[in-house]
Symmetry: C2
Subunit: 196 residues, 2 copies
């Protein structure tokens, strides 16, 4: 499903709304091309807006990321709930993990932001991260109950695996992210407990 440009929550003056949307558009393009750590000052310049205007709309980089990704993250959480009744609890979990990693890789450096935001209640991204974590929790709990995943696997394990794999993929010229995710998910499986 296409999500489109997010809309500001409240009524805004016409010029404010235009600036808001130009900032979002330039940020989306710049983050996609150069990563989530791209210069905010340069984004303001590209949007033909004073740097102070950017901070007026988005007091932190996290606020900007939330405006860009909040809906997408809630959609990811919803996908997790849709996968709950999957015939194979492990396969449902694995499919969602791959979708989550695909989400994390839209901006380079995003994994770090998502890892920090889930533990930082003051982060504008925190609520969205919590929703994603909760979706993971549902899938993990069901796979655990079905005995398809080790009893000690937690939702934070899944969350960390997805972000760490995305991170590894960014650092590598080969598809290291997908490989790590596969190995990690298989490490979650009950059969992996059987040691020599």
């Amino acid at each position: 499903m296409d999500i489109g440009t997010p809309a500001p929550r409240r009524r805004m003056r016409a010029d404010a709304r235009r600036n808001y949307e130009r900032l979002l558009a330039e940020a989306a393009a710049a983050f996609a091309e150069h990563g989530a750590d791209f210069s905010l000052e340069e984004i303001a310049r590209r949007a033909r807006v004073a740097n102070g205007t950017l901070y007026g709309h988005f007091p932190t980089r996290r606020a900007l990321l939330e405006a860009l990704l909040g809906d997408r993250m809630r959609a990811l959480a919803a996908t997790g709930e849709e996968l709950l009744p999957h015939p194979s609890p492990f396969d449902g979990l694995a499919a969602w993990a791959r979708a989550a990693m695909a989400h994390t890789t839209i901006y380079r450096g995003l994994g770090a932001a998502l890892m920090q935001a889930v533990e930082d209640e003051t982060s504008e991204l925190h609520t969205a991260c919590k929703a994603v974590l909760a979706a993971g929790e549902g899938l993990v709990a069901r796979a655990r109950a079905a005995g398809e995943v080790r009893p000690d696997v937690t939702a934070p394990d899944l969350y960390a695996l997805v972000n760490a794999a995305a991170w590894a993929g960014e650092q590598s010229s080969i598809p290291q992210g997908e490989r790590l995710l596969t190995f990690g998910l298989d490490g979650f499986r009950t059969s992996a407990t059987t040691r020599g």
Copy 2:
């Protein structure tokens, strides 16, 4: 084994040598406390040296890291070779992976530097990273030959797992690094291939 302060490779003038060592000492302390991305300018200030002097001795941040960690990384590679005749190839590999992660976590942010350096031949850290990778390759090859690890597991997989786990641990308030490493290593195991 203690490694101590690395020595410059060539004869130096007395004042140069003093500056070199002060820079190394301040960098080691600052990196340990604030991570491998700590300001080089501030390190020069703490060493009571002009910023240009730092660049004279260490043209890049990577050169500074190499001077600090090169010997330690070669020692890690040697440990890998010592573990080659381990009675259980998998356990030997796992023990070395844990040692490697312990090495990576001495400075926050080091994992990213090590991931990039192993693919960047122009990096001053490249040779040391290659030595570590080669040690991993030996352990992986033996575990693979013994059938204790999946046939498709590679040395870069192990290298990436260690660094990604170290990275995840840095972002988290719980020991997420150790957990991810355990899951990933178990995902390497042959038994994990047995799927439903």
